[in-house]
Symmetry: C2
Subunit: 335 residues, 2 copies
């Protein structure tokens, strides 16, 4: 059997899976941001009648995943696997969404990199011949994340300027073996790197080295340059992490130009006062499922590199004084 | 492309991946149990010089994964992916082990079903042509799990008779595209089912319906009977869950005979007073990596069905009054 691997860390799909549909559901603050019109559904408030923020997050995910399936016009019974993950302990939002959808379920954890990870693994399942349709989705919720990772939101504690704002939102894509839509042509899964950052108010710095490592491996494996992409979107490094990624890349002899941005810099307006930008599994997921997919479909983007970035700490590990490991997973999507 | 799917939920591998090596590391209590001699390494105490139980758990996993690679005699640089998961929030044991191994990393969450899930997904990555070697490992630790899910162990609270004891241990397998060893020939990934069990001291009851569902789908998809297996091992339902699984299967017209057991019933002696048996990601992992692998290799087991079972709740969801969803993932291993 010929391996589909190229170089150290990259796989190139022999029959690139198609993104048959995508769907995004966000909270009101995300709806008011610059990408507001690109989302499929905007909730009027952050809880939408659910009993808890955690159940609201799961509902966001469920709506996004069902939305993608409905938009593709594929019966749920033809979906072979559901891949999902989120930030909450024991990925409870995903487990509860999987309880509703009752599909064979693969739970993933890659923090904010989970959307890219799911798209990569889902593509492997399809291109490997194990599935004709794979549903991928992730979620995050500002209030459930704050409660778990930081402080009660009711307390109104001051956030550091390097902190990012967790997106309330869920994004989903339905991947298919054949059909019409942008295709996932390659993927570079990343390694866990830890440069000793212990400031949990500066996740961008913790993730930047791993993202740069994945980018460098990706370009080297495929013998490509940043200019070979119409868009390179990391998600979500925020202002500090995106700047650091540019710097690490430059010191490694590779300059990221105007094609590079970060999903965490796209979703909120400056007036929304989120400090270093957006974060959360849902951030890159809704930016991809909304804005990027629309531009790929319209033809204004030809080849996109989505680089999910995850901070792989836990509140417990941080309280125990451990530093924050980072990871970056890249997928190539071509219109 | 021909799909490798058979029936509703099962995939059959065209070039079944080989288990090139397995490795298990356990705590002292597991070492004193009936399977004590089957483990590769037994720690003298539960913390082994680490600063915390959480770091000790991560060390268990790291030792198991490195052990499998060393036993196979494969350089770490030839391992394409590391798949790992555990019970701790944000799978921190796995993230920290991945930080040490620095391999392209896929984080999984399936609670105690994660070993079977990892073996299934890892096999798909190999049979799909994306990897020549995949390293799979999971861990659990009695004290880190008690601290997170239940009460301080120092308190010595009374456990209910249906409660299971979380195994301190980590198990790992190195899968290869070719070579000598037992082969993974098929996999049936499960759906999340929830029959409304809210007693977190009775995980067996919460998981049994999902395990039975996966078993029934597996047998139907492959047109097989329980007797077609020399061993069917769920992991880990414990006494209550294993009995319930037998009963649900019987009511569905299928009788599980003496070939059926549960990994949670194998690892401790009755005198060890663990009530309904063992649990934790590490339980089915070390039973498989030790005892079952040794019997497969010796030829006394021909065809094994390992059915990982997971309780997909979180402490938060239980405090919020939610019931406990369950899942079962099955892999077929042939000697």
């Amino acid at each position: 059997m010929d391996l589909k691997r190229v170089g150290n860390q990259t796989v190139v799909f022999s029959s690139p899976p198609v993104i048959l549909a995508s769907y995004s559901v966000v909270g009101p603050m995300e709806g008011r941001g610059p990408l507001g019109k690109t989302f499929d559904k905007v909730w009027q408030d952050n809880i939408n009648g659910e009993k808890s923020w955690e159940l609201a997050e799961s509902k966001l995910l469920q709506e996004a995943m069902q939305g993608a399936v409905e938009q593709a016009g594929i019966p749920l019974s033809q979906v072979d696997y559901m891949l999902a993950g989120d930030l909450l302990n024991q990925i409870i939002s995903s487990n509860f969404a999987a309880r509703k959808l009752a599909l064979p379920f693969i739970g993933l954890y890659g923090a904010c990199s989970t959307m890219a990870l799911g798209m990569a693994v889902g593509s492997m399942l399809i291109d490997g011949g194990f599935a004709s349709h794979v549903l991928v989705g992730v979620s995050s919720h500002h209030d459930s994340a704050e409660r778990q990772y930081r402080l009660p939101t009711e307390q109104g504690g001051q956030r550091s300027l390097s902190a990012q704002w967790t997106v309330t939102g869920a994004g989903s894509v339905l991947l298919g073996q054949s059909g019409t839509g942008p295709r996932i042509t390659a993927a570079t899964l990343g390694r866990v790197l830890d440069y000793g950052e212990t400031d949990v108010g500066n996740m961008g710095a913790a993730m930047a080295p791993a993202v740069a490592d994945t980018l460098l491996n990706h370009f080297q494996d495929l013998q490509r340059q940043p200019e070979d992409y119409s868009l390179i979107a990391s998600g979500d490094l925020g202002m500090v992490g995106a700047d650091l990624t540019r710097e690490v890349m430059l010191r490694s002899g590779m300059s990221l130009g105007s094609e590079y941005t970060d999903c965490g810099l796209m979703i909120y307006d400056k007036s929304q006062d989120v400090h270093a930008g957006a974060s959360g599994c849902g951030c890159s997921a809704v930016v991809f499922a909304g804005d990027i997919m629309q531009r790929l479909t319209a033809g204004s983007l030809k080849r996109v590199l989505l680089v999910g970035s995850g901070a792989l700490h836990s509140p417990t590990s941080s309280l125990q004084g451990e530093s924050v490991p980072g990871i970056g997973h890249a997928v190539v999507i071509e219109g």
